[in-house]
């Protein structure tokens, strides 16, 4: 089949869809180096002035910092909770397993607007203060399914006899977990936490209900800028977010050599 005209047509169509998928991101990066006041295509020249403006803009930098705090915190919380519950679900045939694990997938299907609104009303009711913790609680709920799924997938591939061997050879439960289990499921946990970080980092829809001026995250700042003042600094900031969410994981992936990104898919 390969090499015939039909396969060529399939290849060409695929190339066009890839262009459709990726070109907009390339456009953002290209336009961010544009010196003119309005984001025009094709770019009129090359300049770093919007990056200079971005890196001297306290509010933008602050929001980027907030995003790192919230995404880091959520990845850790979701990582711990997701790992523990995945262990429980895989190790033993719990009753109503399917229904119960569906509960852990719910945040993936319900529109983040509903989760955002409902959690806001609930946390207001119980009187929680709107600080970083508030955001981390909300984001952890949104990203927990991703950690759960990736860790669970890794556990299914995991040979439980290895643990039994460790136990037989005299390791206690903690030693077995730290020295046998954890290293073996690390790729799944790493992929899940990375994904949790990235999704939390870019979350906008639910977050808009949860932020305070002091805890505003980067996506919220971009949205405000897009809606109010279309300054070219948006392009620089958008490019920075692409760098954080794509380049950093890719570098991590290459350094650790674990194919974390593909595992998360």
């Amino acid at each position: 089949m390969r090499g015939n005209p039909l396969w060529t047509a399939i290849k060409a169509t695929t190339a066009i869809v890839y262009l459709f998928l990726l070109a907009p991101l390339i456009v953002v990066v290209a336009v961010s180096f544009n010196p003119t006041q309005f984001a025009t295509f094709p770019p009129a020249g090359f300049s770093l002035e919007w990056y200079v403006e971005f890196f001297t803009h306290d509010r933008m930098l602050g929001s980027l910092f907030n995003s790192f705090v919230v995404a880091g915190g959520s990845a850790i919380v979701a990582g711990v909770v997701g790992l523990i519950s995945a262990l429980g679900f895989v190790r033993y045939d719990i009753r109503w397993k399917n229904v119960l694990s569906s509960l852990l997938f719910l945040p993936m299907i319900i529109s983040p607007v509903v989760i955002g609104v409902a959690l806001t009303m609930f946390l207001t009711r119980i009187g929680m203060e709107r600080n970083y913790l508030y955001l981390i609680v909300g984001h952890s709920t949104l990203v927990l399914p991703y950690v759960f799924v990736t860790v669970r997938a890794q556990l299914y591939r995991f040979d439980q006899e290895l643990e039994e061997a460790a136990r037989t050879l005299g390791a206690n439960e903690l030693e077995t977990f730290v020295e046998v289990t954890l290293p073996l499921i690390m790729p799944g946990l790493g992929a899940g936490m990375l994904l949790a970080f990235v999704i939390s980092f870019g979350e906008f829809t639910a977050t808009q209900f949860w932020v305070q001026p002091q805890t505003t995250t980067a996506p919220i700042e971009i949205y405000t800028m897009v809606r109010t003042s279309l300054t070219p600094m948006i392009n620089a900031m958008a490019t920075m977010l692409i760098v954080v969410t794509v380049v950093v994981p890719l570098v991590l992936d290459a350094v650790l050599g674990k194919n974390l990104i593909l595992k998360s898919a």
């Binding site: 039909l6 998928l21 070109a23 295509f41 094709p42 033993y92 509960l103 609680v137 971009i222 990104i261």
Partner: protein, 331 residues
């Protein structure tokens, strides 16, 4: 075993106690090592799974139950909530607008819901058309670049949605790429933003990976020998595809369509950034009612109706594919 006899003499009572006592005393002896290990494992596993479930109960189910309650309460002036039972919110959402504080959005709810479902269907259809061929290609490709090609489908998913929709604005906008192309071919520069097509195309652009990846998964599982034998039996490539590959790729198609549809219907950013005033979807209406209208009970009623619709759709989809398969294995 802990139940006490409702009626009965002291003798019955004593018998029962003896039974319980002997069970307690004998249990560790009767259980051999394996049984004990299994029982311990069950308790441990249940506790472990319970931690994730507890999280979801506290931070997802409890809030949802709370808004269910709220949706039956009255809204007072200036965004306050009056704890009086009322069906007013549901009446406003489902039938027609009644005067609800300062913000009147009730009676357009069904219209907006219908529009969201329509957008969802268009997006699903276009995504399927655009996503099938790449999914098929990736599934059948033997290229050594395959990991890179897959990575390129996954990566956009990592970029914040706001950046991706903003990028799409740069493509469709006044000084954007399409406008530039349109000028090149002599149609003059113009904006293609703030309409239905902008919303649908933006959603398609963002949701395509959710269609391509499940189709890739299904197609990659098809064994070469099946297609080869179809050809040996005299089928031409088109016929072989129609008879073998297409039916076997359907699970991926179904999973992809369900994912894309659900995610498209719940979208907030695409209509907010790319659509005009008439292209708002259900999420935008809930946001507006909650933030700008400050009407929490009404926003709750809307959320509950949306969840009910979602639940009905998922139950219907569940006949084709379970949630666990959708998000667990296939993903």
């Amino acid at each position: 075993m802990s139940g006490q006899p409702e009626t009965g003499s002291g003798r019955e009572y004593a018998d029962q106690w003896l039974a319980v006592r002997s069970r307690i005393l004998n249990a560790p002896v009767l259980m051999n090592g394996v049984q004990w290990f299994k029982a311990r494992k069950r308790v441990l596993a249940t506790a472990q799974a319970g931690i994730g479930l507890f999280w979801m109960v506290v931070f997802l189910l409890a809030p949802l139950l709370y808004i269910l309650t709220l949706s039956f309460w009255e809204s007072g002036t200036a965004g306050t909530i009056v704890q009086e039972f009322t069906l007013e919110n549901y009446y406003a959402v489902l039938v027609e607008s009644v005067s609800l504080s300062s913000f009147d959005v009730g009676n357009i709810f069904l219209l907006v819901l219908w529009q969201s479902l329509k957008f969802g269907l268009s997006v699903t259809a276009v995504t399927l058309v655009l996503g099938y061929v790449p999914g098929y290609f990736l599934g059948r490709s033997e290229s050594r670049w395959l990991p890179v090609l897959l990575l390129l489908v996954v990566l956009p998913f990592w970029v914040p949605l706001i950046v991706r929709y903003y990028a799409w604005m740069l493509v469709l906008g006044e000084n954007g790429v399409i406008s530039w192309l349109s000028e090149l071919v002599g149609f003059g520069s113009q904006s293609f933003l703030y309409n239905e097509i902008a919303v649908v195309s933006g959603l398609v652009q963002v949701l395509l990976p959710f269609m391509i990846l499940p189709i890739y998964n299904s197609v990659a599982k098809i064994e070469d020998s099946l297609i080869e034998s179809a050809k040996t039996m005299g089928a031409n490539p088109v016929r072989a595809f129609y008879e073998v590959s297409l039916p076997l790729s359907l699970p991926g198609v179904v999973a992809g369509c369900i994912l894309v549809f659900i995610l498209a219907v719940g979208s907030f950013l695409a209509p907010a950034l790319l659509g005009g005033p008439g292209d708002q979807m259900i999420a935008n209406l809930i946001e507006r009612t909650f933030l700008r209208g400050q009407n929490w009970p009404l926003a709750s009623a809307m959320s509950i109706v949306y969840l009910a619709v979602l639940f009905v759709m998922i139950t219907a989809f569940n006949r084709f594919v379970s949630l666990d398969e959708l998000f667990g294995e296939g993903n």
